[in-house]
Amino acid sequence: MGVNVEDPDFIRELMARERRGHAHSTPRLVIALALLIAYLVPFYYLFVTVFKSTDEYLSSGVLDLPRSVTPLLDNIVQAWTRAGMGQAAFNSLSYGLLGSAFAVALASAAAYGLTRLRLRSANSWFMVIFAGTLFPFQMYLVPLFFGYQRVSLMNSWLGMLLIYTAICIPFPLLVLRNYFGGIGREIDEAARIEGASEWRVFVSMILPNAKGPLLALFLLQFTFIWNDLLFSSILASSPEVRSIMTALQSLQGTYASTGPNVVVTASLISSIPTVVLFVLLRKYFMSGLQLAHN
């Protein structure tokens, strides 16, 4: 098809199309806004509910605005004391920070061994570790339950930290194996000729080159551990070691006499750390998704 780019009709037509393209974005914007508002209704419900007392919640419409903001404090205090959320938050924070850090550290060491050293059948070794995530978690529950009872790890802080660390290793390994494999060989070859040990090459050459992915992986695994309900509800049910999600779930149980306003407040409290992390480090979260995607 011959097109004369100096033909004024053609240029006018192009410009009109361009304008139409921009005009099109207004109805799209309206649709997107309408969808977003509908999408955020549960959040609106959350925010009006945390400011209501149980009496007010039961007597007013669920979407009505609260009469005052003061019941929030009482809701927090009730959620905090009834579910032991302080202890639970501390537990989950320690599992999340340490478990995620250990897992990413062990995974990066393993990825270094797999990609930067001369390991025979590196692929098979990788598959051995990666096989750990092929199965749904239900496959681990019964054996862990009995194993933990046998070695007295049941209801222990250490036991929780160990399973979280183990379960968070395979995915970072998958990502870091790809990432380390893409870093140029020259830098570590040079360092080795200078007489650096493998440990030194790993710590001061490879790791600093992977700060972004390491942080993204740490965030993803922290979020996973913080959000976990399954392992915690089976392996750590006692109040001293249980996780924040187990505490939240115990509030919500059928026979709990706690008002919806308190339970909803507890669900808000339990979400604060991951939401704050997301807002502050959105860039790394998104790049973490990109990592998962490659």
Binding site: L36, A109, G113, L119, Q138, I167, L248, V263, R282
Partner: protein
């Protein structure tokens, strides 16, 4: 071409060099194993050994804390297929898989196409992504009250229809699974959209512009240019969704606390219930094996399709 004369090395030096090279390789391999040892140890002890133990256990009569009693062959599995709870759980799991396969992807793709290039795209994206950052337990708790007889859904429906409605969405067999799947979609829509937008960003603009100049419609452009290039991303997202559908637990456990038939809502819940509420350990292990077999087979099939598609594109 004549290369400059290479000085002849004595054979003994060559042998020595080769020996050194070999021993360096062996040493390097040993160091590599040392680097891998901690990860290997953790994964073997806490993930791989349990899988093996679980499979063995599923063929025994193990009930209490007495250790492995005796082998029972396929008794546990035979029992599974005769129990109505199990077939109901399989049926509901099927519903979950289909729902998780189709809905987040379809809505995520629609949303991605809608938001792409829109003003405030980043803000929209972040807000639609937000539910994903919350724990399924927190989301389940919140939606439990959204669906409650005096909850958000009913109060909005009442306002629209002008009649009082107090339907128990999470207490009726007909609505509980669709209702929880809807919550699942609400939570996972954002990540589907973000992943698809990443895929869309990789689609080159030139062929689209060229097609537009040639007068192609939006649908034609999507169908013939964007979709084929997006297919690999779609398949990755599908794998994530399907596995999530198979193993859905947290939402069901939290949102169906008041539902008498909770155990039949998915295989993951049925497994948990039989194992930890009824102490049928070996039976629970067998359910886990059945569930795992399904997950592994389906994700293997999808991965195979995905690598075929990527080969065809390259």
């Amino acid at each position: 071409m004549n290369s400059p004369a290479i000085p002849q090395l004595a054979p003994s030096i060559l042998v020595e060099a080769r020996r050194r090279e070999r021993s360096a390789a062996v040493r390097s391999g040993r160091v590599a194993l040392l680097f891998m040892a901690p990860a290997l140890l953790m994964v073997s002890l806490f993930l791989l050994a349990p899988v093996v133990f679980n499979i063995v256990l599923s063929f025994t009569r193990w009930q209490r804390f007495s250790g492995i009693d005796e082998f029972a062959g396929f008794t546990n599995y035979e029992r599974l297929f005769g129990v109505p709870y199990f077939s109901e759980a399989v049926l509901n799991t099927g519903m979950w898989v289909v729902g998780a396969l189709v809905l987040p992807l379809a809505f995520g793709l629609g949303l991605a196409m809608l938001l792409r290039g829109l003003p405030f795209e980043e803000t929209f994206k972040s807000l639609f992504f937000l539910p994903r950052v919350l724990a399924p337990t927190a989301v389940g708790t919140l939606w439990y009250y959204v669906y409650a007889p005096h909850g958000v859904i009913n109060s909005i429906s009442s306002a629209v229809t002008g009649q009082p409605i107090d339907y128990g969405w999470l207490f009726e067999a007909g609505t509980i699974t669709p209702a929880i799947i809807f919550t699942f979609v609400w939570q996972t829509l954002g990540i589907n959209m973000v992943l698809l937008l990443l895929g869309l960003a990789a689609v080159p603009r030139d062929p689209i512009e060229a097609a537009r100049v040639d007068g192609a419609s939006n649908w034609q452009i999507f169908r013939h240019i964007i979709w084929p290039l997006l297919l690999p991303t779609v398949l990755v997202v599908t794998i994530l969704n399907v596995v999530a559908g198979f193993t859905a637990f947290d939402l069901l456990w939290v949102m169906a606390t008041g539902y008498p038939g909770q155990r039949t809502l998915s295989l993951a819940v049925y497994m948990y219930y039989e194992t930890f509420a009824k102490s049928s350990w070996a039976y629970g292990a067998a359910i886990a094996v059945v569930l795992s077999t399904m997950v592994v087979l389906v994700s293997w099939a999808l991965t195979t399709i995905q690598s075929r598609v990527e080969e065809r594109i390259r």
